[in-house]
């Protein structure tokens, strides 16, 4: 079965983007977009629909099994991981549109510079100032928050985030939840202030990011927990003891 990959290509930031269609023969129903891009790039003669030779497609990948977030891109208007996207999903239409994430500067083709994600975490002082230990009640929260891939998919759909806003988006709120769950006392005042200013206040609660996370992180639960601890100062619920 053949499928048309309609890829938004761009040589570099200074050049105009253009759509290019490359036809691809799907090997089986489990073939992912990431495997297809790898396969196409391994050819010595990549050709577009008209049979015109074209250059390799620039994109980022690493784990190929949705554990690293490298291959995030916009696929049929939805931010997703290429390694988590089976091409057989698009079998009916016979075509899929593949574009780079739009909230980050494009390096070339589908590769974007997501440095802002990491710069934001540094600006927000996203670390423990002192040694800490996750208490047993917080293990689930800590585990869930630690799964964040920093892929940027949640920011892509966020109506309140762009690179220069004070609001740093869910890609900051999730890691913050890990810290808030085990924050040393000495750090609480300042970090909660940061949380309110750069995370809580800017969030319009659209929850557009709710079902976008490729890791399936329960964003809503983390947000509620962190808001409760950092904004409303409600201690975390403890399991009721049987009497």
């Amino acid at each position: 079965m053949k499928i048309k990959l309609d890829i938004l290509r761009r040589k570099n930031q200074n050049e105009q983007p253009y759509h290019q269609i490359i036809e691809y023969e799907i090997q089986d129903e489990n073939t992912t977009l990431a495997a297809a891009l790898t396969d196409i790039n391994s050819r010595s003669d990549i050709k577009d629909m008209e049979g015109k030779p074209v250059g390799k497609i620039r994109w980022e990948c690493s784990c190929m099994q949705k554990k690293c977030g490298a291959c995030a891109m916009v696929i049929n208007s939805v931010p997703r991981l290429a390694c988590d996207t089976k091409l057989s999903e698009f079998q009916k239409k016979g075509k899929v549109t593949v574009e780079p994430l739009r909230k980050f500067p494009v390096i070339a083709d589908l590769a974007v510079d997501r440095s802002i994600l990491f710069e934001n975490l540094k600006t927000l002082k996203m670390w423990f100032e002192e040694e800490t230990t996750v208490n047993e009640q917080s293990i689930e929260t800590s585990y869930e928050a630690s799964r964040c891939l920093q892929c940027g998919c949640c920011l892509e759909v966020c109506p309140n985030f762009c690179a220069d806003t004070v609001f740093k988006g869910m890609a900051a709120i999730v890691p913050a939840s890990r810290l808030i769950a085990s924050l040393p006392d000495v750090q609480k005042k300042e970090f909660f202030k940061t949380y309110r200013k750069n995370m809580y206040e800017g969030c319009g609660k659209s929850l557009a990011c709710r079902n976008i996370c490729p890791a399936g992180i329960n964003i809503e639960k983390l947000l509620v927990n962190s808001n409760a601890a950092a904004v409303w100062k409600i201690p975390p619920l403890r399991k009721k003891r049987r009497t």
Partner: protein, 542 residues
Amino acid sequence: MDRINIIGAGLSGLSAALTLSYSGISCNLISLQPSERAQSVLAEGGINAALDTMGENDCIENHFNDTIHGGADMADPNAVDGLTRNAPAILYWLEHLGVPFNRKNGKIVLRNFGGQKKKRTAYAKSSTGKMMMTSLTDEARKYEAKGLITRYPHHEFIRLLLDNSGKNCLGVRVKDTYSGELIDFFGTVLLASGGINGVFPHMTTGTTQNSGDVTATVFSQGVRAGNLEMIQYHPTTYGISGKRCLLTEAARGEGGRLYVIRNGEPWYFMEEKYPELKNLMPRDVVSREIYFVRRSDDCENTVYLDMRELPEDTWKHKLSDLREEIIKYLSLDPKRDPIPIEPGIHYFMGGIDTDENHRTNIGNLYASGECTCQYHGANRLGGNSMLGAIYGGKKAAESILQSGEKESAAEPSFSVCEKDDSDEYAEEASAERIRQIREILLDGLGIVRNENEMQNALARLKRLAADNKLNKREQNRVCLARAMLMSALERKESRGAHYREDYPAKNDDYQKTTTASFENQNIVIRFRELPKRRSCNNENKT
């Protein structure tokens, strides 16, 4: 002391960067992608330390013995002594960085893992690597803000800068993959660049980032390699689009059982053949048994992992991610269905040869993590890879600290090459050549090997090497691949992951480290005696 240049931002690179930072020494952390994309995030099952929280009277000496024996008596005993002795302190350090290890009554819970007679593997469900990487990345960020760690993500290693003698490292040349600029960083270099997965593209459980080019390049530049023939085939993997996926050993640690259909009935062959450790024999043994039963006339070709009897609590609290992955990729539910598995390439015990202080044969050049051949001998035990990476990074950084003056340079020392500069090492290897090398190596370096197949593979590589159209990286890959095959050919015995059907027995004449060097355009294989263990004392205790 100048800034230290660390290549690789996975567990080992981060561990080294933090060790340097704690001593006030600054470093450049250079990696192709950010830490979040490193292969370390894929590690699942856990990390070993003789914490003895399960009431089994475990101790460091047990951990030492299991590691040495699991590695078929081929690892440096002094290095393993340091590794196992420091493991508990490393675990508590990680715990205090906020790693959400599974705990009960305040204590870290330990699980069974292959080749170990006691529960010794700490874990965070089945995403232990990701949990540890998140904590270490956060910790490193604190020192980034202080200027002690300067990250250079999206920077690719191109080659070492060596002095005229070729015996001292002056720095490293890297390429900014966003701008295309070549940059030279001067000063001591620590390679923490991971395993050489890329010599077997799409056939390993690793990432595409670990191309093997770093090891291939430095080998061609004169850095000695060791135990290159030792390639770990993990017993339980499955194929997905474009790669192999790991089915963690923790599944067997928690009660998963291997079987094959023999004469129409399930045969739990590991339990029958190895009544003591059963399904938890070391990985080399299990993979080999799977290989043989699949070829047995009275058995079907497929081996299954049966996890149907695992308790609900185990799926919920210990292996939740694993179940989700299997359902997603195989459309099978391990609570209900036996899972078909096959051995797949998972880890390279061999790599850059270092001493126990992680020094290579080149001055000012160190190496740690999976790119080295330090701790695992002929077969790595599950749960020792992350420990080896973290301890190795720490130990390498400590060696660097001991070697130099403790005065930190305030600014990075580097120079950007002229715009029109190019470097023959920077040209990528073609996909066709990479594929050819992979096919040849797979034919020669399978789970079961023999002289003929390896000689044939070597002859094909020699023909490939004679092609004068190969670019530098392709030449280097061929050179490394030849060294791997030559190492395997010279070891005329079976030991650990290296099983030869023409020499099926272990031969103690070969209880040595295999070394490979590229000298005067020739690959030279030698054997080096293993050191004796100094003594079982507390000198390394931290």
